[in-house]
């Protein structure tokens, strides 16, 4: 009988110990699984950390002086970048890709995060209020993702 009691006690102790070990391991396994899901799960769902967009903005200039393409491009880029600041400059790229001096229209390409487009539009809209940049008023006419959609308005006289 004593042997039976001893075996029963040993079995009880072993089962309690195994239960404790499994609980301890469970938390560790759970943390491993969570890390794995974070590492691979997001890429499986195809959500990129940095989504890069490209937008074309058709703008019209109302300038006091007649300026050539290079001067205007530098002025506009400087102005926009000075508004965006160095941190956003690392994430947003602004280029004047086409300019028609006779109609004073240009197409500006913005590449980067989605917020770049909003900030560039805002910078273009308020840049003429800065005291040392009062040459040109820029009027954004249309923003689109396809340059072909701007053709008609761009070529308009």
């Amino acid at each position: 009988m004593e042997l039976h009691y001893a075996v029963a006690w040993i079995a009880l102790l072993v089962s309690v110990a195994s239960l404790a070990i499994s609980i301890a391991v469970l938390f560790r396994v759970y943390s491993y699984v969570r890390v794995l899901v974070e590492e691979f799960g997001k890429s499986l769902v195809a959500v990129k950390k940095h989504r890069r967009v490209k937008r074309y903005i058709l703008v019209r200039f109302l300038c006091i002086d007649n300026q050539d393409y290079n001067t205007l491009e530098n002025e506009i880029k400087n102005s926009v970048y000075s508004f965006l600041g160095p941190i956003l400059k690392s994430r947003c790229s602004v280029d004047i890709i086409s300019y028609r001096p006779e109609s004073r229209r240009a197409i500006i390409r913005v590449r980067g995060e989605a917020v770049c487009v909003t900030y560039t539009l805002l910078a273009l809209s308020i840049q003429h209020l800065r005291k040392n940049m009062r040459n040109c008023i820029t009027i954004p006419v249309r923003t689109t993702g396809l340059i072909s959609r701007l053709r008609r308005r761009y070529l308009k006289r």
Partner: protein
């Protein structure tokens, strides 16, 4: 119908050039400018434009009636510069606008003054955007622009929720610093307002304001 209800121009030429640049249907000019260049405007503009005579006046406890004096002949905008005058303005039984500028923003506070709910006649919040943007772009470090824009956004949002008219205007002193309606639309977009809200502010409320003011004359 797009309306820029206040251009703070002091020269007739600026107003003429503005009409050439921007296709607005209604335009608010200081009454003194309109008297000076009414004929020139009429002869040089080929399309139909409603030109509204405006008077923007600061309101303090001492000269409270100055803003109201000509509210029947001009579309008045009152800029309260004290909390008492703001409270008195809210109780006035006339159609007028409460001008929101960086100077008056502390007093256009719905939690202290019931412009929006208890006013006997509809009051419009007229947002002068030029002073706000001017302070932002000229980088004066002593001005907390974030706080100003946060407050501005809150006032507009509260007003829109309560269906109180918000009329954003450029209020630029000269043409080289002017904010066109496209610029105003982009500023409101960057502040987070939806297309519907922007259409309300740019197209509907200004017309409603003019309509209410004209119906008051009858």
């Amino acid at each position: 119908m797009i309306a820029n209800l206040y251009l703070g121009y002091t020269h007739c030429d600026d107003a003429l050039k503005y009409v050439g640049i921007e296709h607005v249907d209604a335009l608010g000019l200081d009454a003194s400018i309109i008297y000076l260049c009414a004929e020139t405007l009429q002869s040089s503009v080929s399309r139909n434009i409603v030109v509204v005579p405006r008077k923007i006046a600061r309101v303090t406890d001492e000269d409270f009636n100055q803003c109201l004096a000509s509210s029947r002949t001009m579309l008045s905008g009152c800029e309260p510069l004290s909390i008492n005058s703001a409270r008195r303005l809210a109780k006035v039984r006339r159609v007028l606008s409460i001008v929101l500028t960086p100077r008056s923003r502390r007093f256009v506070d719905e939690s202290q003054v019931n412009f929006m709910v208890q006013s006997p006649k509809p009051k419009y919040i007229e947002v002068h955007l030029h002073p706000f943007i001017e302070r932002l772009v000229n980088e004066r470090l002593d001005i907390d622009s974030e706080k100003e824009f946060y407050f501005l956004g809150n006032v507009i949002e509260t007003a829109l929720k309560r269906d109180v008219g918000v009329v954003p205007v450029s209020a630029s002193p000269r043409l080289s610093e002017t904010l066109l309606m496209t610029h105003i639309d982009i500023i409101l977009y960057a502040m987070g307002f939806s297309k519907r809200e922007r259409r309300l502010m740019i197209e509907l409320y200004p017309v409603d304001f003019i309509g209410n003011w004209l119906s008051q004359q009858v």
